[in-house]
Amino acid sequence: MNRVTDQRSPSEPGAGGSSGSRVRYNDFVIRFANVNGSGSASANGMFAKALFRMGIPVATRNIFPSNIEGLPTWFEVRVSERGYAGRREGIDIMVAMNAETFEEDIASIVPGGHLVYDNSKELNVDLRRDDINLVGIPISQLVLPEFPNPKHRALFKNIVYLGALSALINIDFEVITGMVSTQYKGKDDLIAPNIHALEIGRNYVLDYLDGALPVQVRYSTIAEGKILVDGNTAAAIGAIYGGATVCAWYPITPSTSLAEAFEQYCNRLRVDETGQRNFAIIQAEDELAAMGIVIGAGWNGARAFTATSGPGLSLMTEFLGLAYFAEIPAVLWDIQRAGPSTGMPTRTQQGDLLAAAYASHGDTRHPLLFPSTPNECFDFAVTALDLADRLQTPILVMSDLELGMNDNLADPFTWEDERRLDRGKVLDADDLDAIETFGRYVDVDGDGIGYRTLPGTHPEKGAFFTRGTSRDEYAAYTEAPEAYSANMDRLLDKWETARKLVPEPVVEDEGRDIGIIYYGTTALPIPEALDSLAEDGVELDTMRIRGFPFTAEVRDFIDRHDFVFLAEQNRDAQMKTLLVNDLHIDPARIDSVLYYGGFSISADTIYEQVSERLVEYNVPRLRAVGGGGGGRSGPPRKTREQHP
């Protein structure tokens, strides 16, 4: 044991672990290293939830393998009083429960950090680090006499370290025991042994160790009134409020939990008093069929969506082209993971933008939405269904594993009961009676969007043939060049209408020279990266893009700045390509900050890449400029195309 503790010292948030005499509150990264399938997920989830219940902001990350049992898995919790939710390099507390990864787990601890481990067997001398604190707890020995069943022993080891942590970092023990009681409500015989296991760990720390670590938690008010939820669950609930009745999907990580949450919440929220289920969920035979079902339902007037990831998106592209050309509403949630091909199926990335935006052969383009938070997952689920009906085209929502599968703080979801769903331009029988002639693809309103009818609406009028082949304004098959071109041009008019309807970017512009653009989960570490840059005297305006095609404000933001950074999580700077393509921006005006290693991009990565470029371009720090503006010695617009 090699620790210094002083529980009465005031909080002092700061970087890195410290062996000083002060306690750091609510500001650390803890990582649990486990074996997949060992039952650790439940204990780790309780850990995060206990902190959240104490009002402490937490951001969780499940770093898991494509495996059911046996491979290494990690669970990470970022605890930050400042509300930093992004990934940070370096682990303050490592709970190392997997012998296979012990060496790398120990190596990932910051100097001054803490290793919590099972010292039933003595720690290999080669693995010892002098600059970290060892917290040995003989977990295996402790559970051996208490739980005769070996299966139970394995499971309760997780609960023992949770109990130990409650004493080590000062988690309110009653919060944890209360959660155990709630979790096993109805299975009362499980409550006592779980609490016993918690006490074994807690009492060992209290009886045999020197008390709490210098990294601790304490009650906070920041997370009060918040909810803790993952993006996929938020999207599923949003889809229910958005009126989706048909969900067709094929299991693929990391999107599976979206469809499963939709089913779970539909069973709660969409079953009427007579037991009728106002929804239809089909687990299809593949992603092609999933998309086909969505399109068939959309054609016939039901709100429908699918959830998938990169490989599924690839399979759906032919159907996406059909829906674009035949003008059928559809919503696709792409919970992105690291490609290409099978890539890293359990790692996160923003690598599907180009595949999504231009999915399918021929001239196609699809509106994209980019949620950053669980709240936006909820909101965009409704927005996407509205836009799909309004624009009569597929809308793709580009989430990712980081957002979709990890619990994050969110504001409670809200809904206005007066809100009406926008079903777009659909003519009913009375409408048809009132008009002379019906032409499905006639641009009556000049916005590129025709009026559609649903099958079975009227005995005499409004029926037409929907097809992926070329047709005239009255839906009649034609290969006449003028008719084909006119139709393709009208689809461009519709694209311009979409530009006005997709969510505006979120902009913070203080008139600085340089801006930084980001989207989706790249937003998570941005506040921390900006704070770090500000400490160096570098201040950037920010724009978070939320929709494609890009609204006028996106162009204006880029135009207003000398140049902009664009941070994203893929190799090929895909958002930059979209900006250049859609707005004809000079590529030299966008400087990419890229990370594509499969973890969520960290504040450190953004800070380092931005700093390096600023040095390279000789951009002086703000403090050196002294508020007078100008004075930059080298225009950053010179030859800076680093990412082809």
Partner: protein, 351 residues
């Protein structure tokens, strides 16, 4: 290719159905398929079946994939919406359409390439999901639009127009449908109106997945030797046959034969198809017997026609899903949005 609208002139002698409509009200655009194509006979049978049943001509959802067969929904029921989807994927579009509005009669028309090759996965899965629809395969054993390649329903050893033999075993969609759980399975011949029209009618009113495999000769490319559909094969076994005259391409091929009898049908290329009509006393409620029957007949070089299997009490996909009687596409905010109060309950659980 042109899009031709038929003149809407009603012949004074055309019979009027219970809705006061004639067959004309159930027709579609003029076909652009080859003159004499069996597929046009199937379209005509659909028109006749729907007119005789006096179903509202706008209450259909017509769906198809890609290929000659998949063009045909344009040629019947022009008051109903049609959807010509992508190759081999009609079943998924039909599934979605049926989930959205269970009140419409759903007719899917596909071909042997569309359903037995590129779309065999979707075919298998729509069968097992028991979507309430009539699924017709216009089976001509060939890819017409790309000019005569083998399809997967073609018999092993038969030759293409260029004389190349087919090396692979045929897929029998009827046997597949029986095995996977279709609740209505039939086979017929495009020219046998007397058999086909009642089968279509039965399939339309059947609740559950109704499948009809319709042998439908291709006047342009169907050119086999040595298969059960081959003229040579039938000629070699002529003692068992009713003699069949050669029918010139360009004419509709029709047959009219009695239950239990064999019928040899001359194909446009000079080959012959041997059909065996089911006996009057055949019990179509026994799935296992139906499978055995089809396969025994195939062994004997015969293609059994008629209603092979039906489960009159079948449940469909909506029954399995527990959806309401009202179409899902008719539900409004009051049924779809659980409301702000319910959302507070959801939030509370996430706290």
């Amino acid at each position: 290719m042109t899009y031709v609208v038929k003149p809407r002139v009603r012949h004074p002698l055309l019979p009027i159905n219970e809705l006061g409509l004639t067959r004309r009200d159930y027709e579609g655009a003029v076909s652009t398929l080859c003159a004499g194509c069996g597929h046009d006979s199937v379209s005509a049978a659909i028109v006749q079946a729907c007119a005789e049943l006096a179903l509202p001509p706008h209450k259909f959802a017509k769906v198809s994939g890609i290929g000659c067969s998949s063009k045909t929904p344009s040629y019947f029921l022009s008051h109903s919406h049609g959807f010509n989807a992508v190759h081999g994927r009609m079943p998924s579009v039909a599934t979605g359409a049926n989930l959205a509005n269970r009140e419409l009669y759903c007719i899917g028309v596909s071909g042997d390439g569309d359903s037995a090759s590129i779309g065999i996965g979707q075919f298998a899965h729509i069968v097992r999901r028991r979507i309430n629809m009539l699924y017709i395969v216009d089976n001509n054993g060939t890819y017409g639009l790309t000019k005569g390649q083998f399809s997967a329903t073609n018999d092993k050893g038969s030759t293409s127009k260029k004389g190349v033999p087919n090396l692979y075993e045929p897929i029998d969609l009827v046997s597949m449908a029986l095995q996977i759980g279709a609740s209505f399975v039939a086979r017929s011949f495009s020219g046998d109106k007397r058999q086909l029209v009642p089968l279509i009618q039965a399939g339309l009113v059947h609740k559950g997945f109704a499948f009809i495999d319709v042998i439908s000769p291709c006047v342009a490319f169907n050119n086999h030797n040595g298969s059960t559909k081959s003229y040579d094969y039938v000629r070699d076994h002529s003692e068992r046959l009713v003699s069949a005259d050669y029918i010139a391409a360009g004419e509709e091929i029709t047959v009219d034969y009695e239950s239990g009898s064999l019928e040899d049908v001359a194909m446009p290329d000079g080959s012959t198809l041997r059909l065996r009509k089911l006996e009057e006393d055949y019990d179509p409620r026994d799935r296992v017997q139906a499978l055995t029957h089809v396969q025994r007949a195939a062994e004997a070089g015969e293609v059994v026609t008629g209603l092979l299997y039906v489960d009159p009490d079948a449940a469909d996909c909506h029954d399995a899903l527990g959806t309401p009687a009202a179409p899902l596409n008719s539900l409004d905010e009051s049924a779809l949005c659980p409301g702000a109060a319910a959302l507070e309950g959801v939030n509370a659980q996430l706290q």
